[in-house]
Amino acid sequence: MNASCHGPGGGDTLAPGVPRVALLGNPNAGKTSLFNRLTGLRAKTGNYPGVTVARHVGSCEVGAVRFTVEDLPGTYSLEPISPDEEVVLDVLDGTIPGVPRPDVLAVVLDATTIRRSLRFLTQVLEKALPTCVVVTFTDELARRGGSLDVPALERALGVPVACVVAHRRGGHDELAAQLARWQEWPEPLLAPPTEGVEQSAWVESVLAAADYSAPHQDRVTGAVDAVLLHPLWGTLTFFAVMALFFQAIFVVAAPLQGYVESLFGWLGGLVADHVGPAWLASLLGDAVIGGIGGVLVFVPQIMLLFLLLALLEASGYLARAAFLMDRVMSTFGLEGRAFVALLSSFACAVPGIMATRSLPSARDRIATMMGAPLMTCSARLPVYVTLIGILVPRDSRVGPLGVQGLVMFGLYLLGAVSAMLTAALFKRIADRGAEPMPFYLELPTYRLPVPRSVLLAMWEPSKAFLRKCTTVILGTTLVLWMLLNLPLAGAAELRSAGLDPGDPADAAAVSAYVVEHSVAADLGRAVGPVFDPLGFDWRVNVAVLSSFGARETFVATLSQVDSAQQGATAAEDEPPGSDLGLSAGVVAALLVFYVYALQCVATMAAIRRETGSWRWPAVAWGYMFVLAWTMALLARTVTGWWAG
C-alpha cells in the first residue's frame, strides 16, 4: 500500500511547509468518519482561538507526502448564522490568527442529499482554492434505488471527484493518492453561480450530466421511525433508551470507578507503609496519587458516555431523541439535543459538559454548560447522605415515605429545576439582540455505526480530558494539600500537644491537630465574615473550602475537623460532623449550598477545555457561588422559622 495514512506518528502536525487540507461538508455527510480514516489516532482536539468551537487537526501521509488535515465544523452554508459556521468561513479566508489558510479543500458530499449539497459546493468553489470533491454514501444511494455517475460528475464539476464508502477501505487510498497530486489539480475556468436561478440551473444541469436519480425514501428508516417517533411507542422507547443510557453511565461505570479508586488507595497504602517522613507520605499519598486518582476516576464514565453517545449518534437515534424532546427543551430556550447533555450530568457534570459537543450552536453549548453543573451529580451523594443524616432522624416518616428519602428527592429536583432555569437564563442573555438561530434538525437514515469511528469517539475525549485536566486537577489537589497541612507540625510540637507521632493509635488525632493549625484553618477563620450569615463556623468553613477541589472531600474533612474538636473518641456509628452541634438551619443551609456551589475542579477544567478559555469556568464559579450563598441564607432563614 503506497498511500498510507497510518504511518509512524509524529508530533508536528502543525509544522510549517506541510500542505494543509481542510475537510468541509454538511453535518452527517460522513466528514468525521473520513477524517478518522485519514488521520487515525494522530488527531488532536483543541479550540479555535476566542470561540467555543472545537478544532480537530490530524496528519496523514501519502507515500513521501505529508499533510495536515483539519476537520472543519459541519455547515450547510458559507453564509454563517452561528459562531461555528463563522469559523468555517474565517478559516477559508485565513482571518483567524494562528490558523493558517488551508492549501487544499476537500468537500464531502453525501450522495443521497447531493442536490442540496451542490449549492454548498458552489459557495466553496467561489473561494478559488484547490478543491476536490469526496462523494460518500454511494452504497446507500444504490440500495435506495438512486444512481450517480461519478466520472460524469467529475467532468461536470471540473474538479477531481473521489468516491469513499465508510465501511470499505478502497476509496480512501484513492482519495489519499488524489490529495498527493493536489498541485496538478485542474482549476475550474469559471466558478459556478452561488445564488438565484443561475445556481438552480447549474445544480440541475450537473445532476443531469451525472445521470443522477434521487434515492427513494429508505424503507427501513420509515418503518423504524413509525415506531420510534410514535406518540406512545416512541415516547416509551425514548424513556427506556434514556434510562438504559443513564444506568450505564451511573451504574456500569461505578464498579470501574471503584477499581480505579481501590487501585489508587492501594498505591497510597504502599506509600504510607514505605515512605519515611509522615509529611512526605501524606504529600505523595494524598496529594499526588490522590490527585492522579481523582483524574483517572472520571475516565470510565467519560469513555462509557462517549461510547454510548457515539453509538446513538452514528446510528441516527440521537437525532430522533432530540426530535422527541425538542418541545420540552424549547420551553427553556434550548433545543432537543441539550437533553442528553443534561441527563448525563446527573451522573457527573464532566461527561455532561463534554456531551454538549453534539449541540450545533455555540450559544446553546454555553447555556447548557452553565446549567449542567447544577444537576445532582454522584459526587454530591455522600455529602447529601451525611448532612441529611444529621438533619433528619433515620426513622422519621411522612405516611409510608421516609423523610430522608424525600429530602434527597427534593434536592435532586431542586438541582434539575435550577439547572434548566439557569440554562434558560444564559440562553436568553446570549440571544439578546441577535436574530434567533432557526432550529432545524436533519433526521438521517438509520446507519450502522462505523466501529473505528465509534472507538475513536470514545478514545479522543478521554485522551483530551486526561491531557488537559490532569494539570489542573493535580495542581488543585497539591494546593489544597498544602493549605491543609502547612505549616508542618514537627514531632516536638506534637509531643508538646500531648500526641505521639509514632503511635498509630494517635494518627487520627495527629492529622486533626495538623488540620486545626493549618493555613486552611486560618483561612476558615478569615472567611468567617462571608459565611457567618449562613451560620457556618470555622470548622465548617474548612470543610467547605477543602471541598472546592471536589465535593466528596467535604465528608472526610468534616470528620477530620470534627475529631480534632472531640478528640479521637467520636462514636463510630454516628455520621461525621454530628458532634459539631450544628443547628438544623445551618445543616439545611449547607445542603442547599452544596446544591448550587461549583465545588469541582474537574468540572471547571472540563468547561475550560470545551470553551477554550478560563472565562466561562470563572463565570460559572462566580454565579454559582452567589446563588449558593443566597439560597443557603434563604434555606437557613426558612428552616429557622419552621423549626422555631
Binding site: Y76, L229, F323, D326, S330, Y440, L443
Partner: protein, 96 residues
Amino acid sequence: MRRRGRRAGVEPSGTLADLAPGQSAEVVSVSAAQAPRTARRLAELGFAPGSRVEVVRQAPLGTPVLYRVQGYEISLRRTEAARIVVTRRTAPAGAR
C-alpha cells in the same frame, strides 16, 4: 385548511405549518420579515421556491414537524415552518 378561493388545480396560500402529515405542497416563498438570515438558511436547506415538500410526521408534542424535501428528511419547529408560504396542488403530486 385555509381556502381563499381556487384557481385551476391550485389551492393557494397557506404556510407549511398548516399542513397535516401526509400532505404535500410546493414552496412559493420564504417570508424574510424580521429574520432574513433564517429565511436564507431555510432556502439553502431546500425550502426554495418551487421545491415540493411533504409532511412526514410530527413529534408527539406537536412540534417539531418532520418534512421531506429534495430527497431527504429534516424537521423544523412550527414557528419556522410558518415562515414558508406554500401552495397545495389538488392533483396528486406527480412530479418530484
